[in-house]
Amino acid sequence: MSVFSLAASRTFRGVSVKIPRMLFSLLPNDGYSITILNSKRISWPQSHSANTTRLLSSEPLNQKIPKVATWEPVPEEQLPPPAHIPADLVDKLERLALVDFRTKQGLACLEKAIRFADQLHVVDTTGVEPMDSVLEDRVLYLREDAVMEGDCAEKLLQLSKTTVEEYFVAPPGNIPLPKGEERTAMLKNSEF
């Protein structure tokens, strides 16, 4: 049984996607029977496998959901060599996406996340156009050029803690993140 650990956030081409903390168990095919009792030491979310009693659910399981996990973990040999992330790339990522890979654990987490995504390389995509959106075969709706919205300055300004005379307030300018070493020095003294 191999376990992958995903924590904090995974960045993909500049878009931050936060995945809540979870322990993901990859089970072998013979399934694993777990009965959830009133035990306080439950890891969340529960493993999706056969014979799990869903105590808190009111509807029966949809027929389309397989009763047993239908996928298998990809063997290590089929994956491309693990990507090593050079320090300056980490720095660049941090500045682009404003996330923090400060600790060794953070970096290890990033590498594991990339490893997990490497499974995609096993799929043969020759001749297949990349899909941007599941809407790709839908018609793009064109709106008439008539005023329908706006004039809600009060409502919008209420959402902000600080406003100055109907303007939103932001910190001054665009302060770029300082370089790597300066950053570690700065953060050492911070509370996080």
């Binding site: 878009v15 996406a97 404003l98 941007d132 809407l135 919205e149 001054p172 300018g173």
Partner: protein
Amino acid sequence: SSTKLFSGAPVRFSAPPNSLVSFFDASLPGTLPVLNKRCVEAAVMTGLALNCAVNRKSLFDRKHYFYADLPAGYQITQQRLPIAVDGVLTYSLLGGKKRNQVMRQNVTIKQIQLEQDSGKSLHDDVRSQTLIDLNRAGVGLMELVMEPDMSCGEEAAAAVRELQLILQALGTCQGNMSEGQLRVDANVSVHRPGEPLGVRTEVKNINSIRYLARAIDYEIQRQIDVLQRGGTVQNETRAYDSKSGFMPEPNLPPLILYEDDASLPTGIDACQVVVVQKIKEGLPELPSVKRDRLVQTYGILPEHSFTLVNEDGLVDYFEAVLKATKKEPRKVIGWVTNELLGHLKQQDMSVCQSPISPSALAELLELQETGHISSSVAKQVFQEMWRSPGKTALQITQEQDLGLVSDTAQLHIICQKVVDSHPDEVRVHAIRSGNKKVLNKLMGLVQKETKGRADPVLVRAILQKKTS
């Protein structure tokens, strides 16, 4: 357009802060972009007017960067597959020694893409904060990318002016640079002939065509100076460009345009489609076509036509004058492009501010045409009319007694006087009969006597007779 590119909030130049902002523009969670049909049509019109290939299928992308006036953290643009590509902008320069030769030049348009504008930030350094107004956030923009085909500020200014005229004729953009309706970022680099293009720097925040030309020439000179001193040109914005993250916009399917009504799929709603053929047929008269038409219709020279179209309202003024006078267009054009325009430029005025109306000018020209005043007097009267806007040409002529002296008897007397007081010249003229220089001199003297009011034709004839 009346509303923004992806939301139904209104587009206006000045309004109370954050009053033209929809929930989508403020990037509130749960909002989605809905494309404005008018913006698509405008982009297609502009693409067609600039001889572009309009892409039947174009895609939207997100360009990510962090800035306070971009609430979503990304801008929706069309980087991969824009709506129009590979066009040509033909512009004209007045060149040659007398700046009266119309030289046509081309700039290649790499692409036209639809994208969102960002909000406005006001920097308050005193209180160390930035004030954000999102009224402009989400307004539709057409970004035109041009190839480096131009080589000096004057060419760039002429190209942008032509673009302004085209956009104004199409009605897709009012092109007012000072109000930010037309924004130009100039990328300038220098290189020796035969060598590849040098490092480019970007000149931003240009708010007038005149400044554009000057800023570009200044930058060219600056780069040349740096290189001649052995230095290298630094590019600060380049680093920023390579960093920005692009990704496809997942909330918008591809934008499909249809060639003509025949290619429309069955059962499709007519207001949901943009048909390129229809837009092509509906294109208004473009400036270049207008110039040719003026040359054809009025028989004026191309450079005059160029000047007419280049100045807001001048064509209308010219045509109004023609309506009110029987004078030939070719004789009127000089008055409009030289006298009128000259005076306007001197005082930095626009045509609509002219103190002399088309009908007033027409009256003046009629006076000249019918022989009441000479051409030189006409110019004097023009000046006077400029200074005193209420007075008509006739009034001024009468007040200052500038009427043409056509009384032959009076002219005879004056001519005789001149001839008598210049016997030597007369002898020279008699010896080499028809010596024009002498005749002209005598004519000049007569005009001096009459304060320029003598009818030149009559005077010449009389002098000719008297000296032969």
